[in-house]
C-alpha cells in the first residue's frame, strides 16, 4: 500500500548557502531498510520538481536510523540573496514527509 513517509519517519531541515539539508529519521529502527529502499535521491529530486535546481545527494546513518539529503540549488540563491519566504529551507523536511512510499502491511506492523 502507499502511505506518506510521515507515517514511519520524522525529520529536520536547514541550510548551508544555497543547499538545503534534510534529515529523515525513522520512528522504529526496523523501518530503516524501508526508507533506504523507498527514498532514493532521484525520487526526492522528482518530488521537489523545479524547487531543486541542482543535484540531490543522499547519505546513510544506520546508527541513527536516518538518511541525510543535500538538495543543491534549492533555496533561491540561499542566505541573504534568496527571495523565498523559506530561504533557510526550514519547512522542506515536512515537504519531504508528504512523499508517498510503498510499504506492505507486514513491513508496516512488523
Amino acid at each position: 500500500m502507499r502511505v506518506p513517509l510521515s507515517r514511519i519517519a520524522h525529520g529536520r531541515s536547514g541550510d548551508k548557502g544555497d543547499t538545503s539539508n534534510i534529515g529523515i529519521i525513522v520512528f522504529h529502527d526496523r523501518h530503516f531498510p524501508v526508507i533506504v529502499r523507498e527514498v532514493a535521491a532521484e525520487r526526492v529530486k522528482e518530488h521537489f520538481g523545479e524547487l531543486v535546481q541542482g543535484e540531490v545527494e543522499r547519505f546513510e546513518l544506520p546508527n541513527l536510523g536516518a538518511l541525510n539529503f543535500l538538495l543543491h540549488g534549492a533555496l533561491g540563491g540561499g542566505g541573504t540573496l534568496s527571495l523565498r519566504i523559506d530561504a533557510q529551507g526550514k519547512t522542506l523536511s515536512a515537504a519531504l514527509l508528504r512523499m508517498e512510499i510503498d510499504i506492505d502491511d507486514r513491513e508496516l506492523n512488523l
Partner: protein
C-alpha cells in the same frame, strides 16, 4: 565531570535563557553562540558607523546582569560575541562587570590582510561557485577565519572568567572547556570529535531540548519554560545531554537525532578547525527522563586548511505582498502578479530575479503540494533583486495601486510600500592553516 550549558543559539535568541541556566541549577561553563554567517557583515557596518561598536551588543548587559552569580558560583563564560571588535566588547563587559577577568582571542579578522594574501597567490575561491575572490574584491565588507577550540583553551588558561572570541566555530565553544579541564591534546582525534559532536548538539540552543521538534510536538510539555541544553562531559569523551529540573521541553534520543541531522553535510566528514568527526559512529541511549547518553564517537585528523567567511555587497532587494480573499483568491493573486510583471517589463526595468510565491498555497513546499481547492485567502508575495537600486525602488511602488485598480478584494497593504534592502552576500573560502595566527589578550 563538567557541565557546559548553551544559553544562546544565535544573536536574537531568548534573552532569559542564559539567566535561567545560571539560576536554575549547577553549571560550570556557560557558552553563548551569537554568530550566523551574515552576522559579521552586520557588525562590520556598525563598526564603520561607530568605531566603538561592531560586536554582539546584547552580550555586555547580559554579563552585567549575571556577574554576581557567576562570580559566586565560579562559572566561566565563553562567547563568540566579539564580532569584528572583540576588544571594544571586552571593555564594555569590564565597565559593566569590573570584578570579572576578561580575555579575548584575536587573529580571526583578516579583512586588512586580503590584498596581501591575494598578492601572494591565495585565490580564496568561493567554496560554493569556484569563482576567484578578485572578482568581488572592491565589494568586500568583512573577512574572518573560523577559529577552533585551542585558542579558546589558551584564553581559559589565563584564568579568565569571560572569554570573548570573534569568529570562532560554534562547536569550539563547547569543546574548549573539555580540552582545558581534561587536558585533551591536539591529536586526540576521537576525544576532539566527541566534544565537537556535543557542541553540534547544543549549538542551536533549545533545538535539542524540544524546540522546533517534529516528533510528537503537540505533547512536548511546557515550551513556554523550555530548558536550554546542558552537556555533562566526561574525560573519556562520553557525555549526557540534559537540562535543569523543572524546565519545559523534552530530551530523548529522537529529539537529539533531529538536531544531529540539522545542517549536516557528509556525515562521515564533519569538518571543523579541530578535527573531522564521523557522525555515523555516534551511539545514543535514553539514560533517564530528559537525559540522553552519547558515546562511541570517532574522529580523524584535522585538515591543513581553515575556512574563512567573507561578506560582500551584492545589490539590492525588495519583497512586497498583497492579500486576496475567497472566492478565486489564487486566481486573483495570479492576475495581480501578471499585471505587476508586465508593468515592470514595460518600464524597461532590469532585475537579476523576480520571484513570486502564493502563501496559503505552495510557498513553503512548492511542487510537493497537492492541489488546493479554492482557499479562503492567499497572500501574493513578489520579490525582486538586482544591482540597479532605482529599479528595485520603483518595484516597491507597483503593488499598492492594484488594491483599487486590479482584481477585487485585495488587502493587506497596511504597512505601505516595502523597504529596499542592501544585500550582503556570503563567500566561504579556504586558506592554509598557517596563514591564521591567533593570540590571547587579557583586557584590563
Amino acid at each position: 565531570m563538567i557541565r557546559i550549558a548553551n544559553g544562546q543559539g544565535f544573536w536574537g535568541d531568548w534573552l532569559e535563557a542564559p539567566v535561567r541556566l545560571v539560576e536554575g541549577g549547577p553549571i560550570d561553563y556557560l557558552i553563548l553562540d551569537y554568530l550566523a554567517e551574515v552576522t559579521m557583515s552586520i557588525v562590520q557596518k556598525q563598526k564603520q558607523a561607530d568605531p566603538n561598536l561592531g560586536y554582539a551588543r546584547d552580550f555586555p548587559p547580559l554579563i552585567g546582569r549575571i556577574a554576581k552569580r557567576i562570580r559566586e558560583r565560579n562559572i566561566k563564560v565563553l562567547a563568540n560575541a566579539g564580532g569584528v571588535n572583540p576588544i571594544a566588547c571586552a571593555k564594555e563587559v569590564r565597565r559593566l562587570a569590573p570584578d570579572l577577568k576578561v580575555a579575548v582571542v584575536l587573529g580571526d579578522d583578516v579583512f586588512d590582510r586580503i590584498d596581501d594574501m591575494l598578492s601572494r597567490g591565495l585565490e580564496m575561491r568561493s567554496m560554493d561557485t569556484g569563482e576567484a575572490l578578485s572578482t568581488i574584491r572592491p565589494r568586500i565588507l568583512s573577512a574572518n577565519a573560523y577559529i577552533g577550540a585551542f585558542p579558546l583553551n589558551e584564553a581559559l588558561a589565563t584564568g579568565a572568567d569571560i572569554v570573548i572570541a570573534g569568529r570562532c566555530t560554534d562547536t569550539a565553544l563547547a569543546l574548549a572547556p573539555m580540552i582545558h579541564r581534561f587536558g585533551w591534546k591536539e591529536d586526540d582525534w576521537d576525544l576532539l570529535a566527541a566534544g565537537t559532536v556535543a557542541g553540534h548538539i547544543v549549538e542551536c540552543g533549545a533545538q535539542c531540548t524540544g524546540g522546533n521538534c517534529q516528533i510528537d510536538w503537540m505533547n512536548i510539555p511546557d515550551l513556554e519554560n523550555i530548558g536550554y541544553p546542558i552537556v555533562e562531559a566526561e574525560p573519556d569523551g562520553t557525555f549526557v545531554i540534559t537540562k535543569h529540573p523543572g524546565t519545559g521541553g523534552r530530551i530523548d534520543t529522537h529529539v537529539i537525532k533531529e538536531q544531529l541531522l540539522y545542517e549536516l553535510g557528509d556525515p562521515k566528514k564533519y569538518i571543523t578547525p579541530d578535527c573531522i568527526a564521523d557522525f555515523t559512529s555516534i551511539q545514543l541511549r535514553d539514560d533517564d527522563k530528559n537525559r540522553v547518553r552519547v558515546s562511541g564517537i570517532r574522529g580523524r585528523p584535522r585538515t591543513d586548511t581553515l575556512k574563512i567567511s567573507i561578506s560582500y555587497e551584492d545589490g539590492y532587494k525588495a519583497i512586497g505582498s498583497l492579500v486576496y480573499s475567497w472566492p478565486q483568491a489564487l486566481e486573483k493573486a495570479r492576475a495581480a502578479d501578471r499585471i505587476v510583471r508586465s508593468r515592470l517589463e514595460k518600464l524597461g526595468l532590469m532585475f537579476d530575479e523576480v520571484y513570486t510565491e502564493y502563501l496559503g498555497f505552495n510557498a513553503c513546499h512548492g511542487p510537493a503540494v497537492p492541489n488546493v481547492i479554492d482557499p479562503t485567502e492567499i497572500q501574493l508575495r513578489i520579490g525582486v533583486r538586482g544591482h540597479d537600486k532605482r529599479a528595485v525602488d520603483r518595484f516597491t511602488r507597483e503593488l499598492i495601486p492594484l488594491v483599487l485598480s486590479g482584481p477585487p478584494t485585495g488587502t493587506g497593504f497596511g504597512d505601505g510600500r516595502p523597504p529596499v534592502r542592501e544585500i550582503v552576500a556570503y563567500w566561504p573560502a579556504l586558506v592554509p592553516r598557517d596563514e591564521i595566527r591567533t593570540r590571547v589578550e587579557v583586557v584590563l
